[in-house]
């Protein structure tokens, strides 16, 4: 029961982060380990900055608006 509850919470947190354009860090680490073993992995701070820059790189085909 408790397990399920924390799962739901994690899912919400992931959705909230995705809404502002920051994907899962754990997924990224797992992906780097699996497909690029031996290559450096960004720390969470680097990862966060990199994603934030990428999200707001308007003009490179990215376009957001309200209506």
């Amino acid at each position: 029961m408790l397990n399920r509850y924390s799962q739901v919470c994690a899912c919400f947190a992931q959705t909230a982060r995705l809404m502002v354009g920051i994907p899962d860090y754990e997924n990224y680490v797992a992906h780097r380990r699996k497909t690029h073993p031996g290559l450096p992995i960004m720390t969470y701070e680097e990862f966060f900055r990199e994603r934030q820059q990428a999200r707001y790189a308007v003009g490179k085909g990215r376009f957001r608006c309200c209506c």
Binding site: A16, Y44, F48, Q52, V58, G61, C66
Partner: protein, 555 residues
Amino acid sequence: MTVLFFSTRRDGKSLADMARAEMGPVAGAIAGVGAPLICVILLAVLGLVVVNALKGSPWGAFTVFCTLPIALLMGVYARFIRPGRIGEMSAIGAALLLVALVYGRTVSVTPALAGFFDLSGPTLAIILIAYGFFASVLPVWLLLAPRDYLSTFLKIGAIVLLAIGVILVRPDLEMPAVTKFVDGTGPVWSGSLFPFLFITIACGAVSGWRSLIASGTTPKMIENESQIRFIGYGGMLMESFVAIMAMIGASVLHPGVYFAMNSSAGVIGAPADHAAQVISSWGFTVTPDMLMQMAQSVGEKSILSRTGGAPTLAVGMASILSSFLGGGAMMGVWRHFIILFEALFILTTVDAGTSALRFMIQDFVGAAIPAFKATESWVNNVIGSALACVLWGYLLYAGVVDPYGGIWTMWPLFGAANQMLAAIVLTLCTVILFKMKRERFAFITIVPSAWLLVCTVTAGLEKVFASDPAVGFLSHAAKLSAAAASGTVLAPAKTLDEMSRIVFNDYLDAGLAALSVAIVLVVVIYAVVDIAKALGSSKSTAIEVGAPVLAAGGV
């Protein structure tokens, strides 16, 4: 959704790129010019909404200004103090925002402080333009990103809260389903139901913006093609949901109050008793007391002529929310909460839109002066942002100082431009369907695009040429210049100087409307030619990424 699908199959290319590849350089250039054009109009209209919501409202202005330091603080927090902790950062921001919201009441009742935030329309417009410039020049992590986080969470929170409120309170709709104004003589809107009903911003249904986002942005976010259906339909349903709540918000208000808020000052006049008299003469009984009391309960000096939609929604929603959370005493807080939510939302669009517009301008001008294309350069950034702000800022300022038309002359233009972009996109999709040899399904895009074409072209032409001065730009201009020539000053303007400004605005609007109509027609002609060509060819000629078609077809 079709756009999303096609763009996904083309490596998430933007609309202009797709148009260039599938319909030739001319259509591509038109889509490339159309997008920034609509962007400029959109920014100006949204700016007008904010200005109308905040002018003469110290509480609202104070709260919205407070979001600036709060966003800066959040930006520094997430960058240096605790990098990447979005949850903590947003919680701090939200808490500070609520403090600002509640403290805003104190500001609005303290004359010494209220003076600073009791701003006129033109002042607010200039502040907004300066804000757009700085937000576009400053690094994104400092202002843009934190404010975006805040507005995203606030937006979702407010919408969920409103939905719960509507379900719990089950408010009665006060507005009759059809008023006598359907004949086009209404105070809020002039022009007949057809075609103008169909060029309002039907976001969930048809919108050019959706297609701008669906090409370029969304394709990069989805994992595979099977998600397209869910995202496409889901997005449409969510939008319609918000739209329905907005309509509920407007309809729970007493119709008299609604018209008092949404008729321009040129029509109903300034003092409450005069306005009440005019509105009652339309058949919606309302007393000056009602208007005054409404204004007082939401913490404003006056609710007359607060056009633009945002204030109306705020009052409507505040009356729903306060009836299940906090009662009448909380009405003002709720109202300013909604105003804050709308303003944040729009400001986010203003800064994102300004930087998007800057890139488009750099792209455009860069074709002539290659050095200008380096988007990373700080000098280019400043020049580009300044140009972008001047473009939409000029339209905004013109709309603010024009006392009669204001937002209502821009709105039909915006609606028409938006729907025209949608029509262009649907036409593009039709062409692609034909090129893919999927003529059987082409009706899916042909039917709506034909309807949109009829509506937008009629509306555009009517706005330009209609003989009724309330509808047509040219006849309005002619009427005013005739009056100016004979030395009389007509109702909306107070001086001859203002008259000539309004006339100029009319010509500007007429030019823009005519230009949009011409653009749509050219695209349609191109589309027909392309479809004929595609029908003549025996195999698929569409250009997709990664498909063998590329090798076989190739244009």
